[in-house]
Symmetry: C2
Subunit: 195 residues, 2 copies
């Protein structure tokens, strides 16, 4: 293949074969500038949600990731924490209630709408509930030297679809015993939100 | 001051004194969960733009930052690069044309509208031009062990205002010789975009 001219590069939407997808708009390495049109990141279904990864450890030199999460108005997701990972919740559409507990056990919740921001430090239990259909959360997360964006397709399933799952994707029970800890995710089945 | 009850915490919008602001919604340390309503991050004016910081090194254990940039439809900003810093441009409103050059000198540009994503690896020259009024870019950036979000108020100026600068804030010329390098920013005055 001949190298594309500058003009061709400027008009193309590049696709790459990566370790995660046969066709991805995310390059497999950290030195390549790239663009991803809305919705066209690496997609996964987990329960009722669509997670779309736009950047992860391979692209950022393991400094941070960038993904979106969309889901139906519904139940609160299971409480969990990340022992070493800091996480941003930035709502761009709809309304999402974020629940978070600090390191001293004090709980807070807040309804976030478009443009509102929530921050969850490492080791803080948290959960959220989507309170309007067609809501979207932008997520950014990192621990020193690593990122967890492939958790969603590892516990859930990769998809080429652009929308929410037609039916919720429920992981096999044994997956909960092996997958979360690889991505610094710890579910807290006995956790209660008092707020 | 007595410690607020859980209910009070859940209803409050906390304010903190930090090294950057006498009143900030960003806590001064990395262990505190927090919420910031739309527009209420730490704000700065630089040229015609409003930059709003929602999280930075102090909150994320120096792993990444999260900020927004809003500006009028206008001229392309000066080309620059970050020798060690990876940077995300995610457009949430309007239209922004992102220009980026890869490590081999190939240039690309793309018009990003709401939901579109662009990624600039370290050491890659880049610039952008806001092409619609009321556009907004979400930025995330990091280098291993550090972040640059206070560049904007160090070259520009902190502000309590919520909107764009009434008149552009133009830094004194000598500031360009001292501030950018403290934040891994290098301007490229002779750079030309051929795309």
């Amino acid at each position: 293949m001949t190298r594309p001219s500058h003009l061709e590069v400027s008009r193309m939407t590049m696709e790459y074969a990566t370790r995660y997808r046969t066709r991805s708009h995310l390059p497999p390495d950290a030195g390549t500038p790239y663009f991803v049109e809305k919705g066209m990141g690496d997609r996964a279904h987990l329960f009722g949600d669509l997670i779309t990864v736009y950047a992860g450890g391979e692209q950022t030199g393991n400094t941070f990731n960038f993904f979106t999460c969309e889901g139906p108005k519904g139940k609160i997701i299971p409480a969990h924490l990340h022992a070493d990972t800091y996480e941003v919740f930035f709502v761009t559409q709809g309304a999402v209630r974020l629940f978070v507990e600090d390191l001293e056990g004090r709980q807070q919740e807040k309804l976030l709408t478009s443009g509102d921001f929530g921050f969850v430090p490492r080791n803080c239990p948290h959960a959220y509930r989507i309170e309007r259909h067609h809501s979207q959360i932008v997520g950014v997360a990192a621990r020193p030297g690593g990122t967890f964006e492939r958790f969603f397709e590892s516990l859930g399933t990769p998809t080429d679809e652009l929308g929410l799952p037609a039916a919720p994707y429920v992981p096999a029970p044994d997956r909960f015993g092996t997958v979360p800890q690889r991505y610094d995710v710890r579910f807290l089945p006995d956790h209660e939100w008092r707020v």
